[in-house]
């Protein structure tokens, strides 16, 4: 049985071709320079792939979650940094899909149809995992809001044209006073700061920015005042498996590079010793299992079923797996790994264990679900009695 529909197979094939032609040949160059891969947006224009999460009624490609995961996996195979640009733009769109009204969606998605990108601004210097500790405020003023504060570690922050930004509309209410706003890049007082130089995902643009008396009209408020925390959490739940899909692609690439290297170095020896053989087997076991879990998560989402728990599991499972597999690959390939682009995959994987909620925060979510007082299993003692 084919698990992918003919449409999905076609999407995967197209994504693979795009990645082979446009991403793989230049990933190393942009990793070295740390510059943003502007060229990629132009290259992606024809396929409209940056609109894959936008429903067709808004002129997007309207891919379901499973199909989006196929594309992201292929991009992760090519370069998780470039994949992150796509994933983070979609992250910002999800917030609008979740909380925006029809007019806001139209407005927010319009630039995306032209391969402009979006950014999601939640994190602040003192509010990383502790989202509620943010101090950016949005004060009601006339027909709109005046936003003041600073955001850091924002992906696409220096290159996006539209942003979803979280700010407190009621400082006294804490997280219940958090609200989400659409903020256009060209509003005055929006000051983009320095770009971060990172260990991995280097071509992905990550910046610090400040908002100084940035005025937005009331129609830019997503949902109601105080909905911010709910919107942020729901958006992240939806978007996290995208990172998982990138990680699966990254890990598969490491494995393929390893095998390719072995064939090159040992042309007459199709099978290396068992130690190495089994290490490769272990890598494939992990990659395949992780890939299936992403599919499962996406299938739940497409079916309209709850998937918050699976979302957290898939992000943690896949990024931890990518870290293990890439580390193993670099080590197995010895100096070849250490002097080639393989090291990049290891550096990229490390960042993925941190962003979109650290894997510790995911474990908090998962353990809460595990420990929730809804016993699924029949207790052992009573099982014997029946």
């Amino acid at each position: 049985m084919d698990l992918e529909s003919p449409e999905q197979q076609a999407v995967r094939a197209a994504a693979r071709k795009f990645v082979a032609n446009n991403i793989i040949p230049r990933a190393d160059e942009f990793d070295k320079s740390g510059e943003f891969h502007e060229y990629l947006l132009e290259a992606a224009k024809a396929s409209k792939i940056f609109t894959m999460a936008i429903p067709t009624e808004y002129s997007g490609l309207g891919y379901d979650a499973r199909t989006q995961a196929l594309v992201l996996e292929e991009w992760g195979y090519g370069c998780a940094g470039m994949g992150t640009t796509l994933a983070a733009s979609i992250l910002s769109m999800e917030a609008v899909l979740i909380a925006g009204n029809d007019e806001q969606k139209r407005r927010y998605f319009a630039p995306m149809l032209n391969t402009e990108i979006g950014a999601f601004g939640l994190t602040e210097p003192d509010a990383g995992s502790d989202v509620g500790a943010g101090t950016t405020t949005a004060a009601r003023e006339g027909d709109g809001y005046r936003i003041n504060g600073a955001k850091c570690w924002i992906t696409n922050g220096g290159v996006a044209s539209v942003y979803v930004i979280f700010a407190l509309t009621d400082v006294l209410k804490g997280t219940k006073g958090l609200s989400a706003f659409i903020v256009e890049r060209d509003r005055s007082g929006f000051i983009i700061g320095d770009k971060e130089h990172k260990l991995g995902l280097r071509s992905s643009n990550t910046v610090y920015f400040e908002l100084k008396d940035v005025h937005v009209p009331v129609v830019n408020l997503l949902g109601h005042e105080g909905d911010g925390m709910k919107i942020a959490m729901k958006t992240l739940d939806t978007a996290r498996p995208a990172i998982a899909a990138l990680a699966v692609g990254l890990a598969q690439r490491c494995l393929d590079e390893c095998v390719e290297h072995l064939h090159r170095r040992f042309p007459h020896k199709p099978f290396p010793g068992q130690t190495l053989q089994f290490k490769l087997a272990d890598m494939q076991i992990q990659v395949d299992a992780a890939r299936q879990f992403v599919r499962h998560t996406m299938a739940l989402r497409d079916a309209g079923m709850p998937f918050a728990r699976e979302s957290a599991i898939s992000k943690t499972l896949c990024t931890d797996m990518a870290m293990t597999v890439s580390t193993q690959a670099v080590r197995l390939m010895g100096s070849y790994g250490y002097t080639s682009e393989l090291g990049k995959f290891m550096r990229d994987a490390k960042v993925m264990q941190i962003y979109e909620g650290t894997n510790q925060i995911q474990r908090l979510v998962i353990s809460r679900a595990v420990l929730a007082p809804t016993p699924k299993a029949v207790p052992l003692s009573s099982a014997g009695a029946s």
Binding site: S129, D130, A133, C152, G334, T339, K350, I354, N359, Q360
Partner: protein, 390 residues
């Protein structure tokens, strides 16, 4: 059983730590960026006698012993692992001459190497599936008055910076089970070229390149040890190298754990320093435990080296252990610091630079398995199964 260092060793360790803080802390970041070793640092290493630790006093060295060497490598690695790597490669090359060189060779080479006027390097690896096999293996053919060497030595550390290479070649005609022969090759020997410097992931201050030999003619004086006696030398050097590299990874690990722990005490999330969270404590505790246990194994292996006993199995065990946990130490230390942990520069809100990203890359360069298929597990297994026993 005594796990304590002798007084002399304690002093040596303190000196090394002091040196690292004074001379290495300040250059590590820039060295990682530009890769060019500052002359002042090399001079300082020479003045403080760090180049001659493994050279006997009689040959102009310090004769400090292997434990002392390990202490220095660990201490330097906390500040700047690239320097530790340069020094270790030099020390092993020097050790080969001190151990297997003729009196004339020792007199000729050791004084300048011991004082750091000249730098040494080892040229062991090749591109082929194993040494002596492969289209560009380094082959040596016998002439009346010496040898001619042709081929490539791959991934040579200290390449370009070194004045002398201890290079291993296979004698022609190549036997079915080729054995190696060691040669001392001056960097200026005609026919020897240093390939372009390779772009490495970490240890960026320590240059890596291929050495290309095009009919390099050397006299018999260049022969180190006996003809076809090189395999035993390589085995010993790789075993010593395993212990030293393990010490390097412990130094890196300890520096990372310390930095992450300090960070965790200052970083407040959810109203409390993250150091108070059990999840953070576990990450730090596991990394500290791995460093500690690895260090005990390293100490034991080094003691065996110094006592002149068989240490190869211990060295292999240490290599296996750090291979399993070394990378994890850095993966976890960075995790403790969250976004700031992956910063390669001076991120917003931080004084100075963040070191963990660099140490993560340095650790990757420290843990490579360079002999394909030659896993330390195999050696260990042979030591405990009947099939492996003679």
């Amino acid at each position: 059983m005594n796990f304590d260092l002798t007084e002399t060793q304690q002093e040596a360790s303190q000196r090394a730590h002091m040196f690292a803080r004074t001379y290495l802390d300040g250059i590590a970041y820039d060295l990682d960026r530009c890769g060019v070793l500052p002359k002042a640092t090399l001079d300082a290493l020479a003045i403080h006698d760090f180049f001659g630790l493994l050279v006997p006093k009689a040959s102009g060295g310090v004769g400090a012993g292997f434990i002392n060497h390990i202490l220095v490598i660990e201490a330097f690695s906390r500040s700047c692992p690239a320097i530790a790597s340069i020094l270790n490669n030099h020390a092993l090359a020097v050790h080969a001459i001190a151990q297997w060189g003729s009196d004339a060779q020792k007199q000729h080479y050791l004084p300048s190497l011991a004082t750091g006027r000249r730098l040494g390097a080892l040229a062991i690896h090749e591109h082929g599936p194993s040494l002596g096999i492969g289209p560009d293996a380094l082959l040596a053919s016998c002439r009346d008055d010496g040898f001619t060497l042709t081929g490539t030595k791959a991934f040579v550390r200290n390449a370009g910076a070194a004045d002398l290479y201890v290079a291993f070649a296979t004698l022609e005609p190549v036997a079915k089970n080729p054995s190696l022969t060691a040669f001392l090759i001056d960097a200026h020997t005609p026919g020897l070229t240093i390939g372009p410097r390779l772009d490495t992931m970490g240890l960026k201050g320590c240059p890596v390149a291929h050495l290309i030999f095009e009919t390099v003619a050397v006299s018999r004086d260049a022969l180190l040890g006996i003809e076809s006696g090189g395999s035993a030398i390589v085995d010993r050097l790789l075993s010593l190298g395993s212990v030293a590299e393990a010490a390097q990874s412990v130094g890196i690990g300890r520096a990372a754990v310390k930095h992450a722990a300090d960070f965790a005490e200052k970083r407040v999330q959810f109203g409390q320093p993250i150091a108070t969270l059990q999840a953070i404590q576990t990450l730090l505790a596991e990394a500290a435990t791995d460093c500690h246990l690895a260090w005990l194994g390293i100490q034991r292996a080094s003691q065996l080296v110094e006592d002149g006993g068989a240490f190869e199995v211990d060295a292999a065990m240490v290599k296996t252990f750090v291979g399993r946990f070394g990378a994890k130490m850095l993966i976890d230390a960075i995790q403790v610091e969250g976004g700031l942990g992956i910063s390669e520069s001076k991120p917003f809100g931080v004084d100075g630079t963040m070191p963990l990203a660099r140490l993560f890359r340095d650790m990757a360069g420290t843990l490579l398995l360079d002999a394909p298929g030659d896993f330390p597990d195999t050696l260990i297994a042979k030591s405990i199964t009947c099939t492996g026993k003679p």
